[in-house]
Symmetry: C2
Subunit: 405 residues, 2 copies
Amino acid sequence: MTNLEYNNELKQKYTHFSRDLNEKFINIHPIQRGGILTKEAYKALVAYGDGYSLCDNCLKGRIDKIENPPVADFLNDMAKFLNIDNIMPTAAARESKKIAMEVLSNKYPNRKTVIVDSLAHYTTYLAIETNNLKVKEVTNSGYPEYDLNLEQYRDIIKEVLEEEDELPLLVVLTHVDYKYGNYNNPELVGKICNEFDIPFLLNTAYSSGILPIDCKQSDVDFIACSGHKSMSASGPIGLLGFKKEFFDDVMVHSKIQGNITNKSFPNKICTFNGCPPVYGAPLITLMASFPEIVRRTQNKYVQEESEKANYVIEKIQEIPDIQVLGKLPKIHPLTNVETKAFNKVADSHPRRGFFLRDEFKERGIIGMLPGISTEIKFNTYGLSWSQVEHFADSILDIAKKYNII
Amino acid sequence: MTNLEYNNELKQKYTHFSRDLNEKFINIHPIQRGGILTKEAYKALVAYGDGYSLCDNCLKGRIDKIENPPVADFLNDMAKFLNIDNIMPTAAARESKKIAMEVLSNKYPNRKTVIVDSLAHYTTYLAIETNNLKVKEVTNSGYPEYDLNLEQYRDIIKEVLEEEDELPLLVVLTHVDYKYGNYNNPELVGKICNEFDIPFLLNTAYSSGILPIDCKQSDVDFIACSGHKSMSASGPIGLLGFKKEFFDDVMVHSKIQGNITNKSFPNKICTFNGCPPVYGAPLITLMASFPEIVRRTQNKYVQEESEKANYVIEKIQEIPDIQVLGKLPKIHPLTNVETKAFNKVADSHPRRGFFLRDEFKERGIIGMLPGISTEIKFNTYGLSWSQVEHFADSILDIAKKYNII
């Protein structure tokens, strides 16, 4: 192949990416709704698209100290918004969890167990694994509600104390889980952690930016947030919030020195490899969406978003064998519905489980998990009421087409 | 303050971000030139701006296996381009270095020293520090060339062997350094590492995407690349390339299991927290720029870019006491020029060292380090010839204005 041919082949393959999904289709993918950019974020994205754009005016060698655009200010405002002492950007919520465990492992090297709820995201487990820690799970009520037994945190803390003669390193609660969208009130867990003086991390990857959060009120020591999942930011960006008592543990300044050059970097934070990787579009889009995030997490808007999910659930009740998985009524609009009737259709359909995705796509709806007809997982967040109605009607319409109702 | 007032204040602060720098100004900031988006990347950026956009069609739960858009294909093509067996995306080149050291520390727990060149970026040192390793530096020739004594790698390897009775964990060479833009041929270092069978990491944050690279030819075991620094990608994205003999060491599959749920995630890679944080704009813009990256790293284009920097250097020789720092002629266009004459002007100028930045800005040129007149650090990469001429003329013009020439 000549260079020219090779170049043409590459161009063919890599330069025609389009994704006008949100204009042509309703995307109900559970991980996509909360990350759709605001208009302001779009403008910022285009202005700050280039590589390292945010660092044009970095005067202090630290992204968290940039004043133009107002990064330092933003981190303070975000901390006030979540009501926690400090906020640092991270690569993603998963990184925030990993960092919190790493920081605590350095502080309490003898503590080896992390207690998590049994609906935790896989990245919570991976953070435990990569920090060489042990996991202990808090049970849930099982099918169909999967309601966490939050009081059990106390029992398991005692169990760890007894077995290991050490406190658990950390307690993690998933504020809203990825699978059933169950909302958990962190106050009770915060209180239990407080009794034993154990650090408490609230994973809000699906909730901060969607639901109101008050860390102080729930005795939260660390909060993990996701800009691309729930704060209308261009991926990837997470946030790590932490109480001031952990400030020095998190903000570990570099101490290494070159053996010949004597170079040192005392201004740089080891925990974040100097600066967290959010240099351009991720942080500026999160900042641009912040006013909207503040607006949309006020109670009246939050309630309306819950109503949208509950509306769909109510509408589709006439389908036989329908079973919502998770607690009702919905507080967070991420919803999982068991659809045995659709699964029966798939058994004899030439496209098998894919038929359901096909049928939705024909009706202008995307984001269904491919090949799966046993359950529909969706998120109505931010859809207009007419889109919500169209989505509910489409489910009924498909049911009618296959003589289910 | 009422909610409305608060919201208005936030809007005032956060929703008017603009950065039309590249249209109105010539940005010669050393870290910005290689990250300016291609037209194709701009289109992809706008299409894939939303949060987690790339993951719409994730069927296998792993970003490196997504086929639409062709991520899996792209990683193979990039590996071929750099001539190394495997490529995985990372948050940034700094993360690639950290991961390589972590992986090797797990493989060789008794090896504790990393040998680096004395022009290495601070993040190389931080990666050593956070992995609890020791640093040994290879010297350079000092002012004004700062030419690395590459043969010294051999001596220091022997020194470590003698002192620790263990091989060094890793040898790192900065392909092109951030401060003087010195280019180092990796072949010699690769050969030395090969003699002792020590892994060799080439840090190409400033070079891959700008200069041609052939990992096999230089016996490179690990390569760290930066999409936002040198591959016209929207930040942040890095690449970690590695030889197949390290495949199992890098791609560590999760083994953790829930103690009650028995949940496990054997498909997820611990090293990358499941998926590296490049979910939307970063990876798609890197992919969209790839054909241009391949084109622009061909010798004739590379030579032309070197000529631009050398042109500026030649033009400004009439300024007294001018001294280029780093090796000449330039191969990589990142250039550092000592300007004692400008520093004298600053001594009596009301704006002190800031006068130089002001003068350049008046001439449509930005990216100068603020407050510094002792040296000018610039990068002509990707500027048109008329922009290059204007930049050189501006330096002379400022010198004339202050009666230096």
